[in-house]
Amino acid sequence: MESLNLNRRHLLQGLTTAAVSFCLPAMSSRAAQRRGAERPRSLIVLWMNGGMSQLETWDPHPGTPSGGEVTDIATTTPGARISSLMPQMAEQLHECLLIRSLTSKEGDHEAGAAFVRTGYRPEPTLKYPTLGAIIAHELPQPDLQLPPYVVLTPRIPVPEGGYLGNAWNGFRVFEPGSGVSNLNAGVSDARQTRRLEGLDLLSRQFVQRQGVAAGDVLQQDTMGRALQMMKSEQRRAFQLEQEPAALQAAYGHTEFGRGCLVARRLVETGVRVVEVMLPGFDTHIANHEGHMTQCRILDPAMATLLSDLRQRDLLQSTIVLCISEFGRTPRINPAGGRDHWPGWFSCVVAGGGFRKAAVIGATPAELPTGEPPVPEQPVSIPELYATILTLMGIDGRKEIITPIGRPIRFVDAEPTGVLLTDPSLIKSI
């Protein structure tokens, strides 16, 4: 068990020796140069915000009561057919494990997202950390001058560190491909030097006046890391100028397409967990048309991301997970929409040791009456996350003493080898 109480003595040592020191030297990232199985694993989450319909994407049932207008196509995974709205992904499916039997009990956006992001049902008195926050917390990287957990999203609240603390919140990038907000001082070097001179003096005087109490302040100083990031060469990972125009076009000239390309660049630079969000799936009205629009964005971006990672020999070390807060109802409502459906939904996971060219789970095609039946081969979110954490080298069973004194496991499930190319990876890691 690990307590979240920080060691004040350590901090005070820092106080006496360094006072407030802002400008740290740039460092190289050796790990970022490695490829293939040698490379530490990273995770890219493609978050389909609003509730992606499994029936218009990964789990179509054309010609059935629940099918709607969807048609399906063959894929590079023998026997697996997906929606014809995803032609490029159909060509990449041999790299993927398609799970059609995720389950949840949370049918509200906020609660559904909280559950799928954390693996725990939301509680009013304890905030759980997201999967990304756990990874960032457990895999500290001294060489990395960028935030360890980056979220490429134009809006929605950032995924949070929960009981691990704000420091593990996702670092939000509003406009993927256009750099990062507030990363430039916006004044000349001479003025910035003058500002920092003033700030350094003010900081030192404050620390001096507060005496040993200042340990609390230094503990939470993020100024040094922010200034380091402002000066770091690694921040180029947020920009796309160096990427060939053809590749940018293949990802798609959309915010999400640019986000996926930035995600690859961040992973290449050494960031271990990145999330790219695609909003617009809450299709209570005109569901099929809505998904036609969404899939035109998702399909090229995700397919290009997978092939790009493979070509760079990064797919073996990068888990790509496409997931949503819940699915959508088999029944089509009078407005031509589908409503929230946590009963079963799909995700696609590729790379990093997950099975390829495989499908897990199956769902009924008829319209359910009453409580939704459990899909075949159900996979729980905690189970999936326990497996991802294991692949990342993190023990999901590790207990953390939360600030309210309650011990909590990172994930309340065991990893499952059935999702992996080599089930023995569970034991060997």
Binding site: P124, L199, L201, T222
Partner: protein, 558 residues
Amino acid sequence: MVRLAHLFSLTVLALLVTVALRSAGSVTSSLRPPDNLTEFPDLSQPVARLNTWFQNRWQDEQVVPAGPVDELTLFRRLSLALFGAVPSLEEIRAFEQDQQPNRPQRWLTMMLKDSRFSNYFADRLARSLVGVEQGPFIIFRRDRLRDWLAEQLQQDASWSQMTRELIAAEGLWTDRPAANFITIARMENEELDENKLAGRTVRTFLGQRMDCAQCHDHPFDEHWKQRDFEGLAAWYCQADVSLAGVSDSPLDKQRQPVVYQVTPPGRETDDARVVPPSVPFHQEWVPESGSLRQRLANWITHPENQRFERAIANRIWGLMFGRPWHTPVDDLPHPDPDAEDALDILGQEFRQHGERLSVLIFMIAMSEPFQRSSASSGESDGDYRRQAEAWAVFPLVRLRPEQVIGSLFQAGRIRRVHQDSHPLIRLQKLTFENDFVQEYGDAGEDELTPQAGTISQTLLKMNGRFSRELSKVDLLTGPSEILNLSPDDRSLIDNAFLMCLTRRPSADEQNVFLNQLQGMHHPHNSTDVAPLTNQQRAEVVEDLFWALFNSPEFAWNH
């Protein structure tokens, strides 16, 4: 179209000039606190009782308290706690000019009548009552609830009375704003979520987290059983929300009594069992008559229910210090008659003085811990830890998001920003606050839980538009006014420090910034002098404000 745009621009410019002219001139003010404390209840004995408790504790634990705080820093603490912003230069000048006895006490009573207090505290209370979620469309009106809370605070109303109104309110969410405490719990199926109401009621009004008992007995506290939670939820079973507002329906459409039924997870509704309303302790406090909600409200606020007074005392302590007496703010240990603590004393005096929040605020502001410095007199980490645990030193606490932007906005002006400020300034403040908190991250209802800063927040403060615009030497801004109005550079630096940090600079600080203003790049090299142009001087002032805005002293309550 172009002409219209020009006309609009000219109008705005004219308004800005008007505001600038109104704001210019002397920075002294007519701010005047009462000459004495006769209008406020005499709390000298209760405060003395509380402080004796602390002194005894420190003596027993052999803890040496930190030195006394200076009055300007005390003024900053009060302003941050009650207004969510540092004091304005205008107020600091008036405070310093007031040399009458009992200055902090008299200023505090004036602050408690200020609409900045009632509006700011209404926001804080609303978070504890209904969280920060959007709530159901139309039938939940956060703005009305907040306005009602502000009115109650302006009238210095009884917290017990407010609590009863909140729990048992009937009527429309607009006409009876307290009813929004109930309407936020309406679910998509149009039924009220009794569990949510029960959990919130116990947390907010009794300072106890027992939400987990919704599904099972409390794992760590044998006092709380699942049946206790279900019994409390049952008090809300007859509440109903319709287009006519919130009401209680003792009978259903079939004229059968409405009862609370619990269906075990995974079971059919036929398996539901009826749970009668009950309370976990002191059943005799429940009155015989009234609606179920009225009876629950009377039990909660019963004069002998110590949990009620301790819960609000802990929350007000948290809002004053930034850190509650007991963390988390809504999960207190059981009252112990053999071990009276500060919350007991505060609670008892609160009961004896009309159950008003102003009494708690006054007592806490005048308590020994609030009057101590944050600078530890200890020599080691252990000394500091002992002081901190005994509240013998004022805790260093990071400002909350709304305090950061509130302080940035106020520090960027010399006059206080309040309800009589120019509408353009108030509009700008509102916009800045909303945008900043959204980008910085809202702490939500966990705002009294300590949180570390993030890189995003630091970058926003350093390079974001808020610091840039508020530190700019431009028409209407505070930096511009002190640059133009200060008689000399030393006064200019004094004013900047007072506006941002509510103190004057040290000799070292004065020297460094004076050298910057006078074009000396190196403080110890008087030969390297280059006279600055007006533009360059303006940039030095902007950079001074930037450094002050980003300093840890600005970002922390101390």
